[in-house]
């Protein structure tokens, strides 16, 4: 009796409990099975797993189920690029379509030297909160880079760093074009440009020329010379800011050479990535 109580009963109880719970869970996993389309796990395996959210879905799992369940486009993954789009297209049995990879570009040249830092901002070191102060920015130009590096902190790929001049630098060999920086920047100074783009306008200011001149020596003054000189009609002036249509640009470079503010960036940096990629 004593042996039974001391040895057998505890063993039997734990054994029975374990067995019962195990059986219960086995049954439950059958009863509550959620039927998942096997294409979802295949697509998920093909995705790079960066979980950057660049496709517009919360992570790679979200995108995989988005493709299967909601008919999302197969070429949304900017990290994987064309090769991943091809694999997903094969799984889904559709055409991959063409997607030119994009990279982040900083359309502001308002470095410490060019654009004065008007106020000494001493609040939370975050651009979004600095942008809420009256005037919209501690710097003289309310359109330009605030320079507190929120974009650097949201970049999951280590592609961004704050330069000596107070502007973020994009490491094109690391940037995948997910657009997290563009979404995080309260001033919207990031734009995603195709890697093939050669001519990019590096200013975000919609002010008129004289006002721009007061706050920045490198800003677009909205003179319209570039729009007039462009043989392809790719540049137009929108609200005192030159805007270029990358599909029309023939990369002649005339606009950049005539720009009095020198705020049109010609694309060696963008070209370099193509060669090294």
């Amino acid at each position: 009796m004593n042996i039974v109580h001391v040895m057998i009963a505890p063993l039997a109880l734990m054994g029975i409990m374990g067995g019962v719970f195990g059986a219960l869970l086995a049954v439950a996993s059958l009863v509550f099975r959620v039927h998942q389309d096997e294409r979802i796990s295949k697509i998920r395996a093909a995705l790079p797993g960066a979980n950057c959210g660049g496709c517009g879905y919360p992570g790679c799992d979200g995108y995989a189920s988005g493709v299967v369940n909601e008919g999302a486009a197969v070429n949304k993954c900017s990290v994987g690029g064309a090769s991943v789009a091809k694999i997903i297209a094969d799984i889904m049995g559709v055409d991959a379509g063409s997607s030119v990879p994009v990279r982040a570009f900083v359309k502001c040249k308002g470095s410490k030297e060019c654009s004065p830092r008007e106020l000494i901002y001493d609040g939370v070191k975050d651009c979004a909160s600095a942008a809420t102060i009256p005037g919209g920015s501690p710097n003289a130009c309310p359109f330009g880079c605030i320079g507190l590096g929120t974009c650097v902190s949201v970049c999951q790929f280590g592609a961004l760093s704050m330069g000596e001049d107070g502007l973020p630098k994009v490491d094109l060999s690391k940037c995948v074009g997910c657009g997290a920086c563009a979404a995080a920047c309260p001033k919207g100074i990031f734009t995603l440009v195709p890697v093939t783009a050669d001519i990019i306008i590096a200013c975000n200011s919609h002010w008129r020329g004289p006002d721009v001149k007061k706050v920045c020596s490198a800003g677009c003054i909205g003179c319209g010379v570039c729009a007039k000189i462009c043989p392809a009609g790719a540049i137009e002036l929108v609200n005192n800011l030159a805007v270029i249509d990358q599909n029309k640009c023939i990369k002649c470079g005339r606009c950049a050479s005539k720009c009095p503010a020198k705020c049109i960036k010609t694309g060696e940096s963008v070209q370099v990535i193509e060669k090294s990629a």
């Binding site: 009963a9 505890p10 109880l13 734990m14 409990m17 219960l24 869970l25 439950a28 996993s29 509550f32």
Partner: protein
């Protein structure tokens, strides 16, 4: 227990015997999941859910299985077994029956399967000899206390993060640990309001 006693037990389990700041149970998520207010609240909600269920099941296990068999000393083993199986089962069931809740509790559910706060409340209920009603009230109070403490902690951490005034050596986890200590001292102030 009368209603008054149950109410006092409820209040005391939230404040006086706060599970994190007075009993020091469940400190891992208190440090690990408290850097953002939103995730901290998700974690807290999952803890409320699991502690309530676990207290009910372990009370039944103890009083209707271990006591009749005179195997009370097996409570730790059997409680762990019951809680782990329960959380697994709930996770499976939620995934099918309530995907919305499953998504919002998300990864926190399996994370707290073997959390000592969950086991701690079950063991406390047993040690104090609480009846079913008192056990559930204690479970609700303790888990709400967890939610309160982790939310306060996350709120503070969001504000002190990257603060230039903090010496470099103290930034991050060190200042969070100091904060936790100060919060614990603050909660000592509740001692004595309920006998």
């Amino acid at each position: 227990m009368t209603i008054t006693e149950l109410f006092l037990l409820f209040v005391s389990s939230i404040f006086v015997h706060n599970i994190l700041l007075s009993r020091f149970l469940g400190c891992c998520p208190f440090m690990g999941v408290s850097s953002k207010l939103k995730t901290a609240q998700g974690m807290g909600a999952a803890v409320v859910f699991v502690i309530m269920l676990a207290s009910l099941m372990t009370w039944l296990t103890y009083n209707y299985l271990l006591v009749p068999l005179h195997l009370e000393y097996l409570y730790t083993l059997s409680f762990i077994l019951v809680i782990a199986a329960l959380v697994q089962f709930v996770e499976l069931a939620l995934k099918k029956l309530n995907p919305g809740l499953y998504k919002s509790l998300g990864i926190f559910l399996p994370l707290i399967t073997t959390n000592c706060a969950v086991l701690g409340v079950a063991v406390l209920n047993m040690n104090e000899g609480y009846g079913l009603a008192a056990s559930l009230v204690n479970a609700l109070g303790s888990s709400l206390g967890f939610l309160l403490a982790i939310s306060l902690m996350a709120g503070i951490r969001e504000r002190i993060e990257d603060n230039e005034g903090i010496p470099a050596a103290l930034r991050g986890l060190p200042i969070a640990l100091i904060t936790a200590g100060l919060m614990s001292i603050a909660f000592m102030g509740f001692t004595g309001i309920i006998k």
